[in-house]
Symmetry: C2
Subunit: 291 residues, 2 copies
């Protein structure tokens, strides 16, 4: 049994809890959270009180991940995370790799769906079709980053920014806002459209009575590649998904926690791990079923 | 530079030749074929005359693959193949694994598109959605096995069996035949429909003047999984492709030849290999581009 800790208990932490509960090869040992009453597992309020675990699944905001992972890896505890700041992944991986190797632990970073399973798909598509263009189209689904950016604009009481795929990696932004008393809708809408997050995209802003009543954790991806295998053109591959966002992220983190127990010390992204390692069970049986 | 041999020069061998010619990290050293005049590379008529190569890409019929691979692996030459007899893959892998480990060589078996890239997709989908059903739908495209089965029926001069996807892993068979002089179409059509290859599928048989004029190397896949991540239902993922069949098989074999140069001795299927290993170039640069 793989002894698991969950670090952070928001939407992703809860989804990880559910996925661990369905995994016969894992045992949840402890949850790190400031919340006191979580049914089903002991709760501690600091990663320094974790105790004996094999792997910690880090479910805290991305900016806090490198620090927490570094602490845990240095104590010989393996980590998995869904760190999603694409531009920093190479540096975080390099930093965690040194600590993991020095302390005999394993880190799997950027193990969500993008970065994560989408990265595996993009890599496989490039191996099948080395020349050509890949487009990753997101949505329809809520963008956390864009929603936070709207909420920071003066006059906005609550907001939701939906990402709508328009093809070829271009996205439309549908923004729903509640206004503060006295705020002017036209002024606020203009400020949103001028924001760095929105200025390059087609953006529509709508005033609503209740942002909360629009929220839905569904999301989607359409990932396409068209190009050349060998010297043969017009080779086409496509990946589509329609999923509950935290549920998929939580499940991939749990599958990655299993894979962590099978790697040599070091830090890995998902494209550096044999896909079979994410699954429980006997390798020959898995090969019989899946190959 | 990875020194490559191509063993067998039919449709797949030619596609491998083209894909190697586009790979800057590979050099084609020799082709094993009974054909004498192949432009661009020295030709020998036996695998015993291969000389110094790093990896041999086996492009001969599946039933001949285990014997050829065993011979080469025993001489320290790594091999890749697209062996496609699903029920025997586990046994072939076990047999080649012993020989490879004894001789410091690497084998990658079943490295086409199904088995092969489809296997990687099925494995990733299971890691994302552990509970549920996966359907692999093939076509429209020519089935080699079914076509050979039709050709073996008395009265058939030439034949083509097309696989048509009907969803949920069910396939329709569209069979086009030229008759031998004096053969009775109704009798032959009935014999085809009673054949083991066709008796369980919806099968339609058509008499045509020229089977050859219908042949097209295009093929397709629609691979879908619907199920449960953690405790959340109705998670949906899908993979589609529309490709030239030998061109994709040849390209995957060449990508696998590259991966072979990065593995420890032993025999692997594609789901046992980190996807990044199929690609040329610096790992950090690939992570930056793809993760």
């Amino acid at each position: 049994m793989i002894k698991v800790a969950i670090v952070g208990y928001g939407n992703i932490g809860k989804a990880v809890y559910e996925a661990v509960s369905q995994s016969e090869d894992m045992k949840l040992v402890v949850i790190v959270s400031s919340k006191k009453n979580i049914a089903g597992a002991p709760v501690v309020d600091s990663i320094h009180a974790l105790g004996a675990v094999d792997v910690a699944i880090i479910c805290s905001p991305s900016r806090t991940v490198p620090g927490i992972a570094s602490d845990l890896l240095a104590r010989g505890i393996s980590t998995v995370d869904s760190y999603d700041i694409h531009s920093s992944i190479v540096n975080v991986r390099a930093r965690l790799d040194v600590i993991a190797k020095e302390n005999g632990s394993v880190a799997i970073t950027a193990a969500g769906w993008d970065p994560g399973s989408d990265s595996v798909i993009r890599t496989l598509f490039s191996a099948m079709i080395p020349k050509g263009i890949t487009y990753t189209n997101f949505g329809p689904g809520m963008s956390m980053g864009h929603t936070v950016a709207v909420k920071a604009i003066p006059g906005v009481k609550d907001a939701l920014s939906m990402t709508i795929p328009a093809g070829t990696g271009i996205h439309r932004r549908m923004v729903y806002i509640e206004l503060e008393p006295g705020a002017d809708f036209a002024e606020v809408a203009d400020a949103i459209k001028q924001d760095d997050y929105f200025v390059h995209d087609e953006t529509h802003v709508f005033q609503v009575d209740s942002v909360n009543s629009l929220k839905d954790m569904g999301h989607g991806v359409n990932l396409v590649r068209k190009g050349v295998s060998g010297t043969t053109h017009n080779q086409r591959v496509e990946f589509n998904m329609s999923i509950n966002n935290p549920a998929l992220t939580g499940q991939i983190l749990v599958s990655a926690a299993r894979a962590a127990s099978k790697q040599e010390p070091g830090c890995y992204t998902m494209i550096e791990i044999a896909p079979i390692d994410f699954l429980p069970g006997n390798p020959e049986q898995l090969i019989r079923q899946l190959v």
